[in-house]
Symmetry: C2
Subunit: 219 residues, 2 copies
DNA sequence: ATATATATTTAGGCTCACCTAATATAATAT
DNA sequence: ATATTATATTAGGTGAGCCTAAATATATAT
């Protein structure tokens, strides 16, 4: 049995590791979970004793294979629920996070497999994040930030690197949606802002902070 | 904020009160919740301090209006989730309870109202139990146990009084479903077993223990 | 009315998941 | 290399929600 707290630690360790590809520090965990660092030290010792993570004193933690499986399963559940909330319950992509944070902890393999089927076995969630399969495997990613592209490249917007409400709402406000075609018409050398043609119609100027958070694939 | 434990106490007090129309005793609560009576005493004192219940020492508890609202809302959520599990996710009526017990604690009014709409504002759950509206109001019940009927009466099966897996599975095995027409063809005086014609086709003998748990309406 | 049985409460304790304050370790700057 | 700063750990403590054992209150039987 994994408690709610353990599940949140596992998920957070997974995400922090994914971001930095290094051991996850106590302070990073404390910051992410909004929990005092001393409490984190306490807790990760117990998790290490249960072999969910490996812990090197004062150095940080990383997931064991057992811990990774659990973490990925929580992410799988979170993303499937998000798909359901957006596709079936008419929620917007900036409204689902908090609810999915609760739903991801519901315990029932039958439920999650039924849900997966009900949704038509989606491969990505409403933000373009990959949904791992029941065995915890992810499809290969071929997307990169639009920032990595150059003038003349034509791309398709497939995901966001930043999940804050303000960024999601910025995109909604500017009518930029997953699946849109983004053609790079110009790049301003000074500030790395991109002149982009969207779906062969509208032209828009996107700041560096925006284009670095748009995951696209070449078309 | 109401904790998970509080929600379970509220729901259980509501159900026990509904069953006996009397103050709910410590021991009844302890038995239902599978918690030690001493712990229950502790907890109900705290709930009384929060005005969720009224508590008379050594006599029992009953819900305040605030407590009733919360309790009914949990029941509303539980039953809506059950409808979803059965109608949309292909679960059987004897498979949904445990999952709904978890889902009922998800906190989001928007979610539950969206869900209600998504389901087409159902009035009953898969067991025929009434679903209260968002204000905590129930429709009037006109159903009674089949046991109260007499020979010649024609009825429609609309709900179960008993929710155990064994009873639900008995009905499934015997192909008796909500909505079926049950015509009373005979009653054995000795043991109160009913000879019933189902949907004008099959004849079946139902024991007293069965017919007292079948809620029907006159047709 | 009294004895017995049952139900309830009190007292004291435990674990989980957090906290603060103090101390120790590691990283960085001089 | 040493001082300073940042990070991590230890020690001691808290509230929520449970526990057992002992004491008290209520209901039932004689």
């Amino acid at each position: 049995m994994t408690s709610l707290a353990e599940e949140n630690y596992l998920k957070t360790i997974y995400k922090l590791h994914e971001k930095n590809n290094a051991m996850v520090t106590t302070s990073a965990l404390a910051e992410s979970l909004q929990i005092n660092a001393a409490s984190v030290t306490d807790f990760i010792k117990k998790m290490a004793a249960k072999k969910l993570i490996t812990y090197q004193k004062s150095r940080g933690v990383s997931l064991t294979e057992a811990g990774r499986q659990l973490a990925v399963n929580i992410i799988r559940k979170h993303r499937l629920w998000e798909v359901w909330l957006v596709n079936n319950l008419a929620f917007k992509w900036d409204e689902v996070h908090e609810i999915a944070e609760q739903l991801e902890h519901i315990v029932s393999n039958e439920l999650i497999e039924h849900l997966d089927e009900h949704l038509g076995f989606p491969k990505t969630d409403p933000h373009g994040d990959l949904i791992p399969d029941a065995k915890g495997r992810f499809a290969k990613v071929s997307s990169k930030p639009l920032l990595d592209y150059k003038v003349g490249d034509n791309t398709k917007f497939v995901g966001v690197a930043e999940h804050s409400n303000s960024f999601l709402q910025y995109l909604t406000k500017n009518n930029i949606k997953l699946g849109d075609e983004l053609l790079v018409e110009g790049i301003e050398e000074f500030d790395n802002s991109f002149q982009v043609k969207i779906n062969r119609k509208e032209r828009k100027l996107l700041s560096k902070d925006v284009v670095k958070n748009l995951f696209v694939i070449t078309v």
